[in-house]
């Protein structure tokens, strides 16, 4: 019964989205407040319906209702409750339902909280959001319905892939989807603004919080995914430049560019055409990501719930929305007003440069991701574009951006003083270079590139601190006065500084981890010893244990530095009988900000006692790789909390004008 309610709600949401698009569209044409209100009501209704549908599917998963085909294929009674709940979005159908939930949620949010929006813009945005809702809901209802019943329900389900039964991954898709779909609002705003023919500071002020929110969610989602790959796959890596990873990374890059260009449009009224273009591109890349991940057209090491036939439909949706949006852009963009002028050395120019680098970097990632497809279509040869390509193309572009980054926030609007900025930054530059040289001189083995990276990370971190010091005028005025200034800094400023600082922290972690990682693998009998740089591990014991839905072998090891025991890792190797799949449960000892990473491999017969393949990695500063993006996302959220203040200021400015 509950499942039928869900199925009905889903269909009703489709009808309401249709009503939302039509009512709001007609309301804009006739300037009718009544119809606009009806459109908003439909948007809220569609969201409510999807909440019910989603809750119904979750109920089916939690109660293990195997008469629903999706539940039978992805759940199991022996699965812990958290993963039965997470199973709701673990499959293709469920994830599309989550996508639609987020999409209608965004539409409802615009209808519900967007009181300060100009009425015309708001109504049009709701209408465009309704059109997106129609497309994705129609796809979900007709091509990927999660509520399809089975004629003969099985007694037991086929279970969720055990690799996905993990707390980080349970929350990875919702965060990622929130980010992807959050961009849909920005997209709708852009389309609405193009139709209205007006892109001004007020529009940019409305776009920025949505972009910030989506960007923060995307940052958290990608980081959770990388963290999951790091400790669940047991390969010791966290980023593989895999198509699925790139699919989530490209919208992030574009959203980052959009965040920066929207500032120029908001503060100075310039770059409006480019900002609109990025706003359209951000959601286009999100849809491209969904298509690449769901269709499986590209060979990926971690694509789940792949279905090529339905991928074509997603491609069609992508083509229709992006095609018509960019056609509209080509038609209407020349009408947009050109904004304020600025000198070649200015904050505006720095932000433009940021956008050029980010756009170029996105283009290389896009090309590298799609090149195998193009090559195969052209010549029939199967090739793969792997990490070497991206290290060669993406990294230098980002390095150039990182060198310029700390100067940007110190430049003044309109006309900046480059010499003044250099005077303020030279200490940071000296310290950064010293850090790089120290890394080159004292860390063995010698790594030139990683040392340069360390200098770069230090430059970013110290540059952010200099920026705060400049704002508070520390050392130049009394400490108490500096403190008051520090407290009084607007949250938006804190957000920016934290995001830049987080990037520096990430770069430091990434360079240390990739540059000075150590690895050792050996087949050990019980009592055997594995040497890893300054550390060594002793395998004390391996015993069988029984989990809720798996059997495992757990190795008990002791890790030593010199003679001193530093931790006792206990990696596991689990066998899930329902899928017949084994997974490795990595043991990670966190020592300061570095990781000792231990994997228990398979048992191998040998003369006498059996041996286990034990692999261990020393990942220096690896924790920073995940903390850095965390700081960036925190910066985004803090900046977002500044929103009301900024909106009030904006309204004041408008009232004065």
């Amino acid at each position: 019964m509950i499942v039928e309610i869900g199925s009905f709600s889903l269909a009703l949401a489709l009808a309401l989205s249709l009503a939302q698009a039509v009512l709001a569209g007609v309301a804009r044409m006739r300037r009718s407040e009544v119809l606009a209100g009806a459109g908003q009501g439909a948007a809220l209704g569609a969201f409510a319906c999807l909440l019910i549908a989603f809750a119904a599917l979750m109920y089916a998963f939690v109660t293990s209702d195997f008469s629903v085909s999706n539940v039978a294929a992805n759940s199991h009674t022996a699965k812990p409750l958290l993963y039965r709940v997470a199973g709701t979005w673990g499959s293709h159908e469920g994830s599309m339902l989550l996508w639609c939930l987020a999409l209608t949620g965004c539409g409802a949010a615009v209808a519900g909280v967007g009181r300060n929006l100009p009425a015309g813009l708001k109504t049009l945005t709701i209408s465009v959001q309704g059109v997106l809702g129609i497309l994705f809901l129609a796809y979900t209802v007709f091509a990927s319905n999660p509520f399809v019943r089975l004629a003969q329900p099985p007694v037991e389900g086929r279970s969720l892939n055990p690799l996905l039964q993990d707390p980080a991954l349970a929350f990875h898709p919702p965060m990622l989807y929130l980010g992807y779909v959050g961009m849909s609002v920005v997209f709708s705003f852009a389309v609405a603004a193009l139709i209205e023919g007006r892109v001004d500071a007020a529009w940019a002020r409305w776009v920025r919080p949505w972009t910030l929110g989506a960007w923060s969610a995307l940052t958290v989602g990608i980081t959770l995914g990388a963290f999951w790959a790091y400790y669940e796959l047991g390969w010791g890596g966290w980023w593989f430049w895999d198509p699925v990873e790139n699919a989530s990374f490209m919208p992030w890059l574009i959203a980052t560019a959009l965040l920066h260009s929207a500032i120029v449009t908001e503060k100075r009224g310039a770059l409006s055409g480019w900002t609109v273009f990025l706003a359209l591109a951000a959601f286009t890349f999100s849809m491209l990501g969904a298509f690449l991940v769901r269709s499986g057209v590209l060979t990926s090491v971690h694509a789940f719930a792949v279905d090529p036939t339905r991928g074509v439909l997603l491609l069609a949706i992508l083509g229709v929305t992006a095609g018509s949006a960019f056609a509209l852009f080509a038609w209407r963009a020349p009408l947009l007003k050109q904004g304020g002028v600025f000198a070649p050395i200015s904050r505006e120019s720095a932000l433009v440069l940021n956008n050029i680098f980010l756009a170029a970097a996105t283009a290389t990632v896009l090309l590298g991701t799609l090149y195998p497809l193009m090559r195969e279509a052209a010549t029939g040869e199967a090739i793969s574009v792997g990490p070497p390509f991206f290290n060669l193309t993406f990294t230098p572009l980002m390095a150039a951006l990182a060198i310029l980054l700390p100067a940007g926030p110190l430049l003044a609007w309109k006309r900046g003083d480059l010499r003044g900025v250099m005077q303020r930054l030279w200490v940071a530059a000296v310290i950064a270079v010293a850090c790089g040289l120290a890394a080159f001189a004292f860390i063995s083995p010698r790594k030139a590139f990683s040392s340069v990276g360390v200098a770069m990370g230090a430059w970013l971190v110290i540059g952010s601190l200099v920026e705060i010091a400049e704002r508070t005028r520390v050392f130049r005025i009394s400490i108490g006065e500096s403190w008051r200034r520090l407290i009084g800094l607007p949250r938006g400023a804190w957000g920016m500084t934290l995001a830049h600082l987080g990037l520096g922290v990430f770069v430091l972690g990434a360079c240390f981890e990739t540059g000075w990682k150590q690895e050792a693998a050996e087949a050990l009998p019980v009592g055997g010893r594995l040497n890893l740089g300054a550390y060594h591990l002793i395998l004390d014991d391996v015993r069988g244990i029984e989990g809720p839905n798996y059997d495992a072998e757990r190795g008990q090891l002791r890790a030593f530095k010199g003679d001193k025991q530093i931790c006792a890792p206990a990696p596991e190797r689990r066998l899930y009988p329902t899928g017949g799949q084994t997974t490795s449960e990595v043991a990670i000892c966190t020592l300061g900000i570095s990781h000792l990473y231990v994997v228990l491999g398979e048992r191998r017969p040998a003369e006498g006692a059996p041996v286990w393949l034990v692999r261990a990695y020393w990942n220096p500063w690896a924790l920073l790789i995940f903390i850095g993006p965390g700081i960036m996302a925190l910066g985004g959220v803090i900046s977002l909390s500044d929103r009301r203040l900024r909106l009030a200021a904006g309204r004041k400015a408008e009232a004065a004008a």
């Binding site: 060979t299 170029a360 090739i383 060669l392 899928g579 084994t582």
Partner: protein, 164 residues
């Protein structure tokens, strides 16, 4: 500077161009270099026998793991044979095999051919998803008439069936 255009608009455009051109040039240059240098070709054993990639050149070799061919040494080294319909290649690998590595399963090995004609793998990938078959392998097998559609049991190459 007298050679600059007079109108501020044109000046701004020129500055913008001056900023974009080097970055674009850098990006295009690096991309072309990367695409000529750091892509790796995918072969099945039969295709590799035909194309004869030079010894030491990094390629990807994909196929089905032949039943009964896996030899695991106690020092951690593994040897196994991957096969397509027409040919087989012996692969040597040192390290832990992916959790989904099984006989009859499609895998993709990244590495290079050795002088003796065997393949030394640096990395062996099997998919996370147990119902999955790497796309290149599906395609290559389809072309060789071996593919039996989604969900069919993977072809078995036991007892030298590959040499038929």
């Amino acid at each position: 500077m007298s050679w600059l255009p007079k109108s501020p608009k044109a000046r701004r455009r020129l500055t913008l161009l001056a900023a974009i051109a080097p970055v674009l040039g850098l990006a295009v240059g690096l991309t072309l270099w990367g695409l000529s240098d750091s892509i790796s070709y995918f072969y099945t054993p039969a295709q590799a026998a035909e194309a004869k990639p030079p010894v030491g050149r990094s390629i990807q070799l994909g196929g089905l793991v032949e039943g009964g061919s896996v030899v695991k040494h106690s020092d951690g080294r593994v040897e196994f044979t991957v096969a397509d319909q027409l040919a087989t290649t012996r692969i040597h690998f040192s390290g832990d095999l992916p959790d989904l590595f099984r006989e009859g399963q499609g895998i993709v090995a990244t590495g290079a051919f050795r002088a003796d004609g065997d393949f030394e793998a640096k990395q062996v990938l099997a998919k996370h998803d147990e119902r999955y078959m790497p796309r290149e392998i599906t395609k290559a097998l389809k072309e060789q008439g071996e593919w039996r559609g989604e969900g069919a049991p993977p072809p078995s190459y036991q007892s030298g069936a590959a040499q038929q």
